[in-house]
Structures are given as structure tokens and as C-alpha cells.
Amino acid sequence: MLPALPQLFAGILSIVLNYVATFYMPKTRLLRDPLETLTTAVPLILAGHIIILIFMLSVVKRCSFKTTVISIGNALLVTALGTVILHGFIVLFGASLVEKFNHTLAFAAYLAVLALFPTFISLSPTDTNIWIKCFLQHSPSTGPEIFAYSQAICTLSGAWIGAIVLPLDWERDWQAWPISCVISTYLGHAVGVFTAFGWSSFKHILNKRKNE
């Protein structure tokens, strides 16, 4: 039996959800109208993630109603705060503050939902210490922790990598801000899920060996 199976399923589910919500469901295409697409996609993804979170908390982890509500509240709060902070950091990394402000904000929201929400799906409800251990000391140990950590880090790295194509003079549609970053964020998240799966299985097998 592999560890953190629910997290894996949740992760795969969110990959599918992200794909459908970003590239399939909105009537506009990401390449043509990134802003409209994102403003449709972000609420969809958020709603989907909330459902997954509720499912995880109430069905898988069997938490009380109160804990569930508090966790969802926390998740939403952190995502909202994260959007603002990430927007700030995106600007600090070189995006224009004034020009395409809405694009940047939409991308920040997209990034926040993709990077932060899965951590709540994997981890909550837990103690603050676990969060600190995971994200400040960078030493996740259990399966859920690995899933939370890996998804967040890979999504953020994905967003980071997406900026690399911006200066190239290939004159492609997807080089416009923030399309490449949105796509790479999505890919980063997907990679994060599978990395987490590999990592936690590896760790699981290693532990097993040790125990034997």
C-alpha cells in the first residue's frame, strides 16, 4: 500500500480540473484573450478545489464540520492574501506595475490557487509547526507533507520558468505576458504531483527496507 493515496488522487484530480478549467471550459481561448480566459478559469478552479478540499476533509479525513469550515476559511484567506503577495513579487521580478495590471492580477490569482490550495488539500487540518517544518525548513517527511511541499514548490518554479521564453524573438502568441507563465504554472503543478508521488513512494520503500 502506497502512502498518501488520497493526496495522489486529489492531485491528479486537480491536474484534470486545472486542464479543463484553463484550456477547455472557458469560451475564450487562452492564447487569444488571456485575461477573459483567466477570469473564467480562476473561479472555476477555485470552486473545484474547494469541493476537493471539502471531500478530503469530510470524507477522507473525517473531520468535524467546524474544522472543515475553518480549514476552508483559512485556505481562502491564505489564497486571497497569497494573490496580493504574489502579485507584489511578480512585479518585483520585473512585471510592469501599471501596464497589464489586470493580467498580472489574474495570473497572480491563478498562481495562488494552483500553488497554495493543494497544500491545504494535502495538509489541513494541521498544526502550524508542520507548516513551518515543511515550508520554512524545507524538510517534509510524511506523504501528505511531501505532496503539499512538492506541489507548491513545483508550481512556483513552473511559474518562474515560464518567464524564460518572454524575451525570445520568436513572435509566437504564447510569448505574450502572462500566457507562457500560465501554461508553465499548470505544467509545474502537474510535475509537482508526480514528483511528490515518486518522492513519497521512494521514501516509503526506503523506510520499509530500513524497518526490515
Binding site: 513579487f89 512585479v91 518585483l92 521580478f93 520585473g94 513551518i132 520554512l136 525548513q137 524545507h138 518562474w160 518567464a163 524575451p167 525570445l168 524573438d169
Partner: protein
């Protein structure tokens, strides 16, 4: 036992620096195509000038004849005048006009539809109808096939090089003799339309705004704007001429029109596209209409500056890019008719062309294969041949530096068509004599040029001894000429061999000309790939050796045996390899390297390999000795992960130097990397934090990275745009900041107030605090230095205000109307300075200007000359003082002297910048100090667990990388770019009245490298702290290794990009953008690479 040599770090660093310098030297030797431009204007001289001119030491000419020759020295054959020069010239340059666009081609069904074929019927039509008044050539360009280089070549007749080292390096203007200059002297009304490259190259010719209609050549996707603009000016001009026909005054004499549509279409759609057909047939119509105005006295020249590759681009040296077309047409006869003479001139011309093609090795078969027209049907003319040909047709002197040879077809003596009465053979003699005489004029010009070039440059390739085989042809021709003439003089019998002899003479002159082209091409336009590869190998080995020395945990010694083995083996292999290559004549490798160079290169290789093998060299005895130690400290001696990460990160980042886009947008890329490093820094400082984490702690740790991040982002708002960055570049530049602009009042005042706050309160205060370093007692030295620092700041502030004022419109912010003072601009040369002085120092209403002329000039003098000098003096003094203090180590707080150094230099560097840049530079020491000081105190960690200890280096290395990146960032935000045009020439005059060559060069270099100088000073400080720690606390192996990794990391961070940049320049040496993007970037990289190595060596030696 072999002797052991234990090199110190400074010695190794010194060697590595030398290796890097030599590597770059060999690379540049192979890469830089240098040619000295001689700005000497040719004059029209007599055809028989210096006749006969041959080597008097030659064996064939002995003493007996010497007396004879003196008699005939002043005698020469009669001068046969040429036909009347043309009154009007229309030069049409169609960018990227490949030759097969011009000719009749049979549409081959097998080929896919080729829209570019047969769209230019007018050329063939004219050629068929008037064979003697039209000439069509395959026009071969010299690579690189970029428009700028080609236009230069077309007008100067010289071969392209990267650095045409001349008087004026800053502007792109041609600074040697060129055809247009002579045309200008003869023809007053020169009109120009089209590509603005011409205007940039020849600004003194196209200085009449009413006759010059240049267009921007950058908008690639626009096919029609430039061409339509040309036509809108061209047709009125032509038709006005037609109306005025018969009147005396001419409206135009020379028209030059450079069409860009075909080239743009090629770039955008490729040659095989319907748009190309449209474009070409439009050009066809233009030419057709122009031929209607071409009369007896008008010459029409249609040419392409280069060809077009299969994809529609150009810049390289493929056959498609090189073969362009040249078409000459006139109302009168241009070449001799092939009538029923007993002598066939066309046969002679063909033979000349044939010989030229063979001699220069034009690949006829390849042209036929790839462009599928009959290349043997049309003569091939090198582009530079146009220069002497046009000079002949327009009767102007051939430009001094020309290397081209006359196209023989156009040579016609004046009596060719009107003097039919003469006997046939007499007439032939006259014509051939005329041809020979014109060839002699051309050859003499080239001969003089070669001699002058040798006198000016002493380039060994141009020594008379090296050129002797080429000169021999010229001398032969001269000798034959003079002998023949003497004979004719003696017995007036007309020799039947005269024709033969004349041919021979012409061929000798021609051989001389063509050999010269071939020879110069090899010297000037050929990269020495061997030398470049040699340089790259040395650079790579040096970089590897640096890494190897850095990770060598034992700090090994070098044994004599090892030393000798490595040295001898490498020497033998290298020397053998080079000799082999040299003898094999493999693609002319190593031809620029002399034997001394080869020996130096071999030694460099040996030294690099020696260092590379250091970790494996320690002799067995020392190994055994170390064995025991190693087991103990093996855990600690691991190389920190982030060190490896940084080296690999640098490697990956250096790969962006292969992409022109990344180089163009490097300013933003640098900021991106800096921001990433800030985030990493924050993460690392959190991870390595000792005490338990809580929110407050984390926020506290977040502040320094955040400050740096925000500082980088804010300063990143300013900078200078590269021309390639438009229109996506909107930096706040110094031009925005001025007095009296509309609406910008508020921001400007805010900026100045901020500056004032910074200069008069904040910086001195911080400086004093840092100097006394928490000592509460008053330190008189600190006070003196703070006063000196404040004075410097004041000077910088005043200069900022002055600069802003000077760039402002003349109505100033305080409502002063300058006009009312009635200044005489002729007397006060820079009046704006005077006003700014007045603005700052005085109440404008009460001052009496007439009385205080002297005062003002004194003020200007003080501000422009003495004040900057004072800053320099203060900085130099503090540098000496702090160096002495650091060197003596007499008191513990040497750290304060490093602060002194950092702050003082920032002021000197700031005074060399534009206002915005100087403000940023003034704040940079604060950021540097923040980075240097907020390292996690290693001392405490050592004593705790090993786990923690590893973390302690993490922060430290990332900060070094960050300091390095910030140096780069400062380079960009202080309005510099890696281009030659952005060199800050103005800085040369800060503190100097007139141009002082070395002083000026130093100031320009300082201004360019300001950011990096701050970085190097930052390294010095970090290095000092690091040494202090290892000196004061436990001298553990770990700390020593840490220290070593740290110093070599700095070198590696620069060595990797230098080395990769060199490789990319080698690979992309024929790339379209090489000279605009990659080469300047490489030069900058080489400069900062060597600078950093030197700085680190100096640091290591100092401390």
C-alpha cells in the same frame, strides 16, 4: 624524493588571471579583424605620375641602363583622354537583389513555384536591345553580407573588418576616403532616398536636409513604406528635370536611392512568395520608367548590396547571399562594339574576367548548381570593383584606400567612336594604350595605398618583403611599359607586337590588383579559427583548473616530478599539434600566430593543465600524512550544495549568451536573476536560522532580502534602451528630468529634494555611524573622513543639478526668462552652465551680470574641472590611507576602512554618471553593506552541530553571487549597455578641460565599469570579514575550505560566462548579429572577467 612547491592562493590566482588574459588574447587575435583606416584624401594626379616605377635593385636592371633610364624618367607615353564623364548619375540600390532575380530563367516545371523568377524583364530587354550601352555583371559581395558593411565597401572599395581603427570610434561614420566625397566635390546636387544607413555612414555628404530623405531600416515587416517614400521623392525630382530640359541649370546631378522592400519581403516571407513577385515587378517598373530619362549624359547604375539566402535572410557567406547583380546603362555607348575589327576587345575582356574569376576562386559550378543560371554567361565582378569603375566614368580620383580593380569593359578612349579615319591598327594601339594607362592609374593608387599602409601601421603582412611577389607584377608591367616606350622612341617603326605587349602589360597590372585583393582579404577578412580555438581551449582549461583548485580539499602541493611530466607532455602535444596544423594548411588555421605566440600558447596550456591536475598530484608521502587527517574531517570537507548549485546556475545562465534575444534583454534578465537570488537568500537564511522560528523571526529575516529586491526593482526603472529594444522599452532616462518641462515639475522637485536629503543628511550620517562602528568615543579620523565624504557628496549634488539644468529647455523652472539678459552666446560658450550657477548661488533679480563675467567663468571652471578633481583626490587619498591601514593591520577595526573605501569610491564613480545613475550609485554602498554584514555569524555555528554548520555557508555564497549580479545590474541602470554606441564619452571631460588621452580613457572605463568596481570592492569587504573569522576563531579545515571555495567562486562566476561567450562568438562568427550583439557583449565579458580576476588576486594579496 621530489621537491614540493606549495603555491599560495594569490600565486594561483595570479597565474589563473594570466592564463585568462592569454586565452582572451589568442581568441581576440584570431577574432578581431583589424584594419587601420587612413583618412587620407586621394587627389587626381597625372596618369603617368612616378613613371616608370620599378624596383631599381632588381637584377634585371643593371647599371648600364641606369643612365639611360634617367633620361627617360621624365618621358612617358602620351596620355589618351577618356570620354567625357557623365553629367548625371542615378544609383539605384535594391537591397538583397540576388542575381537570379535579374536574369531570364526558364521556368522549370520540376521546381516548385518560384515567384522571384523572371520578374525583372527590363534588364534583359535592355541588355538585348542595346548590348553596347548596357553592362550586366554578377556582383559578388564580400562577407559579412550586412547592408552597413556592404555600403561601406561599395563606396570605399575596401574590405570589411570589425574594427576599422581610426580617429573617431564613437560614431558609425566612415572615416576614410570614399567615393561619395569625391563625387560631392564634383557634383553639387546629390539627392539621397531610402535606407538611413547611408546617412549614418556618410553624414558629411548627406548634410542637406532638403536633398536627403532617409528612412528607418528597422521595421522588417513593413514592405512598402520605405519604397513608397523613395518614389514619392524620386518621381517629382525626375519629372522636374524633364520639364527643365534645355535650361542651363540642373536640378539634380546624382541620385542615390536605396530600396528596402525586397529585403524586407525576403526577411518576412522568404523569396518564394507572391509578395516577392509584386515587389520585384514594382522595382522593374521603377527601372523601366527611369530608363526613359536616361540620356547621353546620364548613367544608370542598378545594383544589389547583397543576395538573399533560401530563407530570405542575409549576413552569411553562402552563394545565395553573395551573388548580387550590377547593371550599368546609359544613353550612350558604354562599351566597345564587337564590330568587324581585326582585334576582338570582347575577347580581351572575357580573358580578363576569366583570369580574375580563377584567381579569386569564385565557385562557378556551385553558383550554377544552387542558383541554376548560367554563371559563365555573365562576368563576375567583386563589389569593390565598382569604386574605380565609377571613379573612371565620373572622372573623379579613385578613393585612397580602394583595392578594387577597374572593370575593363567601360574603358574607352575619347576618340573611339568619332575618330574612324585613323588606320585600324593605330586606333587599336590608342585604345589599348588608354586601357593600360587607366589600369596603371588604378594599380598606382593601390600601390601607393599599400606603401602608406605599411608606413602607418608597420603591419608585418604589409612589409615590402612580404608584398614583394605581388609588387613584382606591378614592376614587370612598368618595366615593359617603359622599355616599349623607349623602343618606340628610338625607332618609330610600328611594331606588330605592340598589341601583344599591351595586353601583357594590362594583364600584369590586373594580376597585381587581383593578387592584392586576395592577399588583403586573407589578412583582413579571415578569422584565424585556429587561434580562436586555441584561446577557447586555454579559457576552458583555466575555468576547469579554477574549479579543480577550488574543490581540491587538501590544498595540495606540486611535486617537481609531476610538474615536469605535465609540462613537457603538454608542451610536446600542443606544439606538435600546432605545427601539424600549420603545415597541413588546414583552413588557414594558426596563420595569425607567430612562433612566439605558439610557444606562449603551449606554456599556457601546460600551466592550465598543471593546475587542473593539482588535486591528483600530491605525492605519496604527503598523501599518507594527510590520510589520517582526512578520516577525521571527511564529513566536514564536503562541498556545500549551494556552491555547486551556483556554479551550475552560472553555467546555465551563461548559455543565454548564445541567444541574441537574451543578450538584448539582458538588463531585465539580470534583474530576474537578482530577484531569484534574493528569494533564495531569504530561504537559506530561514533554513540556517539558529533559534526556533516564529513569525517575528521570519519577518526579520525577510527584511534584508526584501530591501534589496525592492531596491533592484526600483532602480531597474531607469536605464538606457538598446536600439533593438524599441518599441518595448520605456525606461525613465535622464532626459525626463529637467527644469521647466510640462507637468513634470513636481516629480523633478521631488527627485532633487530626495537627492538633497540623501546627500546632505542620510548618507553622511550612515557613513559616520559605520565608520565609528558602535564606538561611542569620538574618532577624529572618522570625523575628517565624514567631512571629506560630505564635501564630495555636495560636489556630486551640485553637478547633478547642473547637468539637469543643462539638458533643460532654456526657460528655467523658477520663471527666469533668459532672453532678457541678452547674453551673447558667442562669448559665453556654454551659457547654460552660467545660468545654472546663477540659479543655485544667487538671487537672479539683483545680480549684475555684465560686471561678473570673470566670476562666472571661474565658477564654471571650478565646477567642471576643479570640483571633480577634488573628488578624485579625496578618493585616492582615502584609498591609500585605508590600504595602508589594512596592510599594517595595526588596529582591529579595519572593517571601517573597507567601508571607507566602498563609500568613497561610490562618490567618484557617481560623479562620472548621469544624474539618475549617480543617485543609484550613491545608494549602492548601503545595499552592499547590507549584503556583506547580514551574513549569519559563522563563529557561533561552528561550535554547534555539524548539521547546522553546513547551512552557514549557504547564505554566504548566495550573497556573493548576488553582489556579482548587482554589479551587472548597476552597469545597466547607470545607463550603459553592451554596445559600442553607449560608451559614455562625456565622462572623459569630467575634471578635464581638454581631451587628455589617458585620463579620458581611464574615466570612460571607470564610468562604464562603475557597477563592477562596486562589486569588486564588495568582494574585498566580504573577503576581509571571511579572513577575520578564520583568523580569529578556530582555524578549522572547514573554514579554510570555505574560504577557498569562496575566493574561487568569484573567479568561476566570471570565468564561465567568459569562456562560453567566447565559444558562442566562435560558433556565431558569421551570424547576422555578431558585430552588433555578440561581439560587444563578449568584449564586455572579457573586460569584467579579467577585471574580476585581477581584483580577486589583489584582494588576496592585500589581506
Amino acid at each position: 624524493m621530489s621537491k614540493l612547491f606549495h603555491p599560495s592562493h594569490s600565486f594561483i590566482l595570479f597565474c589563473l588571471t594570466c592564463l585568462q588574459i592569454f586565452g582572451l588574447y589568442f581568441f581576440l587575435k584570431g577574432f578581431l579583424l583589424t584594419r587601420q583606416t587612413l583618412d587620407i584624401q586621394a587627389t587626381q594626379h597625372d596618369v603617368w605620375d612616378q613613371f616608370p616605377l620599378y624596383d631599381t635593385n632588381s637584377n634585371s636592371y643593371n647599371n648600364d641602363n641606369n643612365n639611360d633610364s634617367n633620361i627617360y624618367d621624365k618621358l612617358h607615353p602620351p596620355t589618351i583622354p577618356a570620354k567625357k564623364p557623365f553629367d548625371r548619375v542615378i544609383m539605384i540600390i535594391i537591397d538583397a537583389l540576388r542575381f537570379d532575380f535579374l536574369t531570364d530563367m526558364d521556368m522549370n516545371n520540376n521546381q516548385q513555384q518560384q515567384y522571384y523568377l523572371n520578374q525583372f524583364p527590363i534588364i534583359e530587354k535592355l541588355h538585348r536591345l542595346n548590348p553596347s550601352s548596357s553592362l550586366l555583371y554578377q556582383f559578388r559581395a564580400d562577407p559579412p553580407t550586412t547592408t552597413m558593411q556592404r555600403v561601406k565597401g561599395l563606396m570605399t572599395g575596401s574590405l570589411p573588418t570589425f574594427i576599422d581603427a581610426g580617429a573617431n570610434f564613437a560614431s558609425s561614420a566612415v572615416n576614410e576616403d570614399h567615393l561619395l566625397r569625391h563625387i560631392r566635390q564634383r557634383y553639387d546636387n546629390i539627392y539621397f532616398m531610402g535606407d538611413d544607413t547611408w546617412v549614418n555612414l556618410f553624414p558629411e555628404v548627406f548634410n542637406d536636409r532638403n536633398k536627403t530623405f532617409e528612412s528607418d531600416s528597422f521595421k522588417m515587416f513593413d514592405l512598402h513604406t520605405v519604397d513608397n517614400r523613395i518614389l514619392s521623392h524620386l518621381w517629382p525630382l525626375i519629372s522636374s528635370q524633364e520639364e527643365k530640359k534645355g535650361q542651363d541649370q540642373d536640378d539634380w546631378q546624382v541620385i542615390i536611392a536605396h530600396f528596402l522592400g525586397v529585403d524586407h519581403c525576403g526577411h518576412t516571407y522568404g523569396p518564394s512568395h507572391p509578395n516577392m513577385a509584386n515587389k520585384l515587378s514594382q522595382m522593374n517598373d521603377v527601372i523601366e520608367r527611369l530608363t526613359s530619362v536616361v540620356d547621353q549624359d546620364t548613367l544608370l547604375v542598378v545594383m544589389g548590396d547583397h543576395g538573399m539566402s533560401v530563407e530570405g535572410d542575409h549576413g552569411g557567406e553562402s552563394v545565395e547571399e553573395l551573388m548580387s547583380g550590377l547593371f550599368l546603362y546609359s544613353g550612350r555607348q558604354l562599351t566597345m562594339k564587337n564590330d568587324n575589327d581585326d582585334y576582338n576587345y570582347h575577347d580581351l575582356f572575357n580573358r580578363i574576367h576569366q583570369r580574375r574569376t580563377e584567381k579569386l576562386g569564385y565557385p562557378i559550378q556551385e553558383i550554377v548548381d544552387r542558383l541554376s543560371y548560367n554563371a559563365t554567361h555573365y562576368p563576375i565582378a567583386s563589389q569593390i570593383h565598382l569604386v574605380p569603375t565609377l571613379a573612371y566614368l565620373l572622372d573623379v580620383p579613385i578613393p585612397f584606400g580602394n583595392l578594387g580593380a577597374l572593370l575593363p569593359d567601360v574603358l574607352m578612349s575619347s576618340d573611339y567612336d568619332n575618330d574612324q579615319k585613323q588606320p585600324q591598327n593605330k586606333r587599336n594601339d590608342q585604345i589599348l594604350l588608354h586601357m593600360a594607362q587607366e589600369f596603371r592609374r588604378n594599380a598606382l593608387q593601390v600601390y601607393n595605398y599599400l606603401g602608406t599602409y605599411w608606413n602607418h601601421t608597420q603591419h608585418p603582412g604589409f612589409a615590402p618583403s612580404s608584398l614583394d611577389p605581388i609588387y613584382q607584377h606591378f614592376w614587370n608591367a612598368e618595366r615593359m611599359f617603359s622599355n616599349n616606350y623607349q623602343q618606340q622612341h628610338h625607332d618609330s617603326d610600328n611594331d606588330n607586337d605592340t598589341i601583344q605587349l599591351m595586353e601583357q602589360i594590362i594583364f600584369e597590372y590586373d594580376t597585381f590588383l587581383i593578387s592584392t585583393i586576395k592577399y588583403c582579404d586573407a589578412i583582413w577578412a579571415q578569422f584565424d579559427v585556429g587561434s580562436m580555438v586555441m584561446g577557447i581551449i586555454i579559457l576552458i582549461l583555466t575555468t576547469c583548473a579554477t574549479v579543480s583548485v577550488a574543490i581540491d580539499s587538501n590544498h595540495s602541493s606540486i611535486s617537481l616530478r609531476h610538474f615536469l611530466t605535465v609540462w613537457i607532455i603538454t608542451m610536446i602535444i600542443t606544439l606538435g599539434g600546432i605545427v601539424l596544423f600549420k603545415n597541413a594548411q588546414y583552413y588557414d588555421w594558426f596563420e595569425k600566430m607567430g612562433w612566439s605566440d605558439v610557444i606562449i600558447a603551449a606554456n599556457c596550456m601546460a600551466l592550465a593543465i598543471l593546475f587542473l591536475t593539482i588535486p591528483f598530484s600530491s605525492s605519496s608521502s604527503s598523501k599518507r600524512k594527510l590520510e589520517t587527517e582526512r578520516t577525521i574531517v571527511s564529513v566536514k570537507k564536503r562541498i556545500p550544495l549551494d556552491w555547486i548549485f551556483l556554479v551550475f546556475g552560472t553555467l546555465i545562465n551563461a548559455f543565454t549568451l548564445a541567444s541574441n534575444s537574451f543578450v538584448i534583454w539582458e538588463d531585465r534578465g539580470t534583474r530576474y536573476i537578482a530577484a531569484t537570488l534574493c528569494i533564495l537568500w531569504f530561504f537559506q537564511s530561514v533554513v540556517t536560522h539558529r533559534t526556533t522560528l516564529n513569525l517575528q523571526n521570519v519577518l526579520g529575516l525577510m527584511i534584508p532580502p526584501l530591501i534589496v529586491l525592492v531596491w533592484i526593482r526600483l532602480t531597474g526603472l531607469t536605464g538606457q534602451c538598446r536600439e533593438e529594444q524599441f518599441p518595448y522599452c520605456s525606461y525613465i532616462h535622464n532626459g525626463y528630468i529637467k527644469f521647466g518641462g510640462e507637468g513634470s515639475h513636481f516629480i523633478n522637485m521631488g527627485y532633487i529634494l530626495f537627492n538633497a536629503f540623501l546627500c546632505f543628511y542620510f548618507l553622511p550620517r550612515v557613513f559616520y555611524r559605520m565608520l565609528i562602528m558602535n564606538n561611542n568615543k569620538k574618532d577624529w579620523k572618522a570625523i575628517i573622513f565624514t567631512v571629506a565624504y560630505s564635501i564630495s557628496l555636495f560636489i556630486v549634488f551640485i553637478r547633478q543639478i547642473t547637468t539637469i539644468y543643462q539638458s533643460s529647455p532654456h526657460e528655467d523652472a523658477l520663471g527666469l526668462n533668459i532672453q532678457q539678459f541678452n547674453f551673447d552666446d558667442d562669448i559665453y560658450n556654454p551659457p547654460t552652465t552660467i545660468f545654472s550657477m546663477q540659479l543655485i548661488f544667487s538671487n537672479p533679480l539683483s545680480i549684475n551680470i555684465k560686471l561678473s563675467h570673470d566670476l562666472y567663468t571661474t565658477c564654471i571652471k571650478i565646477l567642471d574641472v576643479y570640483a571633480p578633481r577634488m573628488v578624485y583626490a579625496i578618493t585616492l587619498f582615502s584609498t591609500f590611507f585605508s590600504n595602508i591601514c589594512i596592510f599594517n593591520k595595526k588596529n582591529g577595526n579595519s572593517a571601517s576602512y573597507l567601508t571607507l573605501l566602498l563609500f568613497m569610491w561610490s562618490v567618484t564613480l557617481a560623479i562620472l554618471q548621469q544624474p539618475l545613475g549617480s543617485t543609484i550609485l550613491l545608494t549602492s554602498p548601503l545595499i552592499m553593506s547590507l549584503l556583506i554584514r547580514t551574513r549569519t555569524p559563522t563563529k557561533d555555528i561552528i561550535k554547534t552541530t555539524t548539521n547546522r554548520q553546513e547551512g552557514s555557508h549557504l547564505t554566504h555564497y548566495i550573497q556573493i553571487a548576488l553582489i556579482y549580479i548587482i554589479g551587472h545590474h548597476l552597469f545597466f541602470v547607470t545607463s550603459h549597455q553592451a554596445t559600442f554606441t553607449s560608451l559614455p564619452w562625456k565622462a572623459a571631460f569630467i575634471g578635464f578641460d581638454d581631451m587628455n588621452y589617458y585620463g579620458g580613457a581611464t574615466l570612460v572605463a571607470l564610468s562604464t565599469l562603475s557597477g563592477y568596481i562596486m562589486t569588486w570592492l564588495g568582494f574585498l569587504s566580504i573577503r576581509y570579514y571571511s579572513s577575520q573569522q578564520s583568523g580569529s576563531s578556530i582555524r578549522s579545515k572547514q573554514l579554510l575550505q570555505d574560504h577557498r571555495l569562496f575566493i574561487y567562486l568569484i573567479v568561476i562566476l566570471q570565468a564561465i560566462p567568459t569562456c562560453l561567450s567566447a565559444i558562442f562568438v566562435l560558433i556565431l562568427r558569421r551570424h547576422l548579429m555578431t558585430w552588433k550583439i555578440f561581439a560587444p557583449r563578449f568584449m564586455l565579458q572579457a573586460l569584467i572577467g579579467v577585471g574580476t580576476s585581477l581584483a580577486v588576486t589583489l584582494c588576496e594579496w592585500l589581506i
